[in-house]
Symmetry: C2
């Protein structure tokens, strides 16, 4: 009977700021990073792996918080965990003193995501299943018991959730077979980073078309002239039949967003993503009312399920972009996907960063098979960065995610990558010639706000 | 010309969990703590002091984040800072990589509050004024320039803010004279902690009445029977003419809150505070509609000004409870007070903890003198804990805050207190006989959720 004996949390940082991969109007120079959790059991062949995604500086805050929370798992028997996922989330990984630092948001919540993601991975590995399969094999009652519905019951009760899941249970295996055959629809953000020049943007858009992508997302929001020029380039490369999405990464106020998006309407974007503060539910509602038929999408910074509840209640969004590491793992994500289904809003998970694509491929399967039963309007973000660091990286074919079959949550990193990019002691950071990025003194470095 | 030469951030923890001071339905065992910032200048007589309030475990997360942010102040000349408070807030204390960990919420935002509070303290000390006086001496344009209006302009533009401040400018000194003479109205939470037994509750309520308090707040939410009994005790001790407020510390869902509060309506509470998740703007609106004439109060966990904007827009609250350390200092608090004034909602600052009373006495003066011009429905929380650790502690007379006259923001801690309660190396924590609270191994201790 394996038991969680020891917890290891690593600070892993990739020097992506050197190439401006991932550059947008709010995040000009991120170093894609992770607080990476390993739950060690007595069995050396059985560990649980999880991470939360970060942007470089401050990753060690999430590491410290994850260490706090994960210590409470030491001594738990792995075999009983599949039936205790709800109480682990709601009771074991709760600390009334740490709660003040959120609650349910920011560093501590990101850390909880890393730890709980590792728990789901561990349970799935023990059961010899991919995480999506583990969940598709749960009864509606088991899945609801694993979730956290606190503060949601005015919009979705547990009984309603069971009813929704039960309605789709008889046909689950048909959808599983479909996804194993066809994969899940995706879109790419790889061409459109704000730090890329026009030639690179054009070339990458053309390559995306050649690779079979029908949906491409572009970063906007630095200057309106630039956005017009970049949208024209992208639209020309994509043609009129492919779909263009725009992402402003929160740079605008509400009124500014409305004006700016309407200036770009002629490029026929499907959605404007993160037009303003992620906390501004009513602001998103106002924007949505004034930029239609352009849709409003948000969620990668929606701090917890209560924000999603309100975005849906207020009819503030057209696309629900859950994040696998900002929401505290499947226990919180499944309730959000259930609420989205109830309101008829498609879930289009946020991905990219490091490891997020590996995670969301599971979440999209769960959504289709168990929760929404529909692919209409659904697609999962894909960005072609950093997959080489994972033991079981995502596979994309002709613009679709190939459904993963390896056990677990697909997030185990390669030992070599951990050795190289551990911060600050990994080989890259000790030896890098990039002084600013590499030195611990980079802690003091401040990138000025663009605002 | 003094310059900020060095930054010191301390982890200070007071073992309040030993006495259940501060116990409520969500926080059964907090150790009132602080990440305490000292900005050292070349002049040994001139430092800036600031803190953010925490509950014990995790304080070091705020310490680390405050160190990150405050390092960016090193080298700044003190004499120029009074005209640069806005750019320090919006540009110097911004880090695009740390931003991912919020944004503008949680650990990083709490840390920003500590650092920016220290900046305001330093500037006021240099000008030889209390912080409230420093601000009352600013022109409307200067004060607006010091603030952050990002994401607010759909509700309050900077021009409107200047107009509001200008309208009250000619009469500022009348209100200053009034407050110097009479003090600012306050209420006490000291009698009502949930960990106190009935006899202690009754005795403390009677003492509060004897000390001249007209407004007393009680913690509720653990059990309805218990709440009925405790409310009856408090109401009997207070009589019908004094005011009772209730505080549930977020334990309820929306529907549960409505039912529970209506069960307590016969005790005639002025407000129910934090009835549900602090993130649930629409939930507060729903509760408010169904518990009137009991008012709804919230704010101590409202993560930033965008949440307050929505609470006001949605007509979700009757009382606006800003927190001096969760909002990132005066730069963010003044815009919230301006919005509250525009919507006609009284600001009743949250206090207690450690140092919060010292801070909010300044904020209430600023609100009355510069922003609202009214005392109607206004009162500032007071809790009689831990004031002995400050060099310039608050003074209360007959249920009112005596307007502070010492220079700065009143938050400098006594050297002896720092030496005793620094964690984990202070004399108390090294020598305490309270093993659980005192040992660094307490990190692993988890208080189970009540939910």
């Amino acid at each position: 009977m394996p038991v969680i004996e020891r917890v290891e949390v690593r600070d892993i940082r990739f020097p992506t700021s050197a190439t401006l991969d991932g550059s947008d109007a709010m995040n000009p120079d991120g170093d894609y990073s992770a607080a990476y959790v390993v739950l060690h059991t007595g069995d050396p062949e059985l560990c649980g792996y999880g991470l939360t995604f970060t942007l470089g500086r401050g990753t060690e805050l999430c590491v410290t918080a994850a260490e706090y929370l994960a210590e409470n798992l030491v001594g738990l028997e792995v075999d009983g965990m599949v039936g205790r996922l709800g109480s682990i989330y709601r009771e074991v990984l709760v600390d009334s003193q740490l709660r003040w630092l959120g609650p349910d948001k920011g560093v501590v919540h990101l850390a909880k995501a890393a730890v709980m993601n590792a728990v789901w991975d561990l349970v799935a590995r023990r059961e010899r299943k991919p995480v999506w399969r583990l969940i598709c094999d749960m009864t509606p009652e088991e899945l609801v018991a694993a979730c956290d519905f606190r503060y949601l019951e005015d919009v979705l009760t547990q009984d309603e959730a069971i009813d929704m899941l039960t309605a789709l249970s008889p046909t689950r295996e048909e959808r599983v077979a479909e996804l194993l055959r066809d994969g899940y629809p995706a879109y790419t953000t790889s061409p459109g980073w704000l730090g890329y020049d026009d030639d690179k943007l054009r070339r990458l858009c053309e390559e995306a078309v050649a690779d079979g992508w029908d949906h491409v997302k572009l970063k906007v929001g630095r200057s309106l002239d630039e956005d017009r020029r970049r949208c024209a380039i992208a639209r020309e490369a994509l043609g009129q039949d492919r779909v263009l999405m725009l992402d402003a990464n929160q740079v605008w106020g509400v009124r500014e967003a409305i004006t700016w998006v309407n200036e770009l309407r002629s490029f026929d974007p499907l959605w404007i993503e993160e037009p303003t503060s992620p906390d501004d539910v009513l602001g998103h509602r106002e924007i949505r009312r004034h930029v239609a038929p352009v849709g409003v999408a948000t969620g990668e910074h929606a701090e917890n399920k209560v924000i999603f509840k309100q975005l849906l209640q207020a009819e503030a969004i057209d696309f629900c972009q859950i994040d696998s590491c900002r929401l505290a793992s499947i226990n919180e994500i499944v309730p959000v996907m259930l609420m989205a289904a109830k309101f008829g809003i498609p879930v289009c998970p946020h991905a990219g960063g490091v490891g997020l694509c590996e995670y969301v491929q599971h979440l999209s399967v769960i959504d289709y098979v168990c929760i929404s039963g529909s692919l209409a309007g659904r697609m999962t973000e894909f960005v072609d960065h950093l997959h080489e660091h994972f033991v079981d990286p995502v596979v994309i074919q002709r613009g679709r995610y190939v459904t993963p079959t390896a056990v677990g949550y697909s997030i185990r990193m390669r030992d070599e990558s951990i050795g190289t990019y551990s911060y600050p002691d990994g080989a890259y950071w000790r030896g890098s010639s990039d002084g600013v990025a590499a030195s611990p003194e980079a802690r003091g470095h401040v990138a000025r706000s663009l605002g």
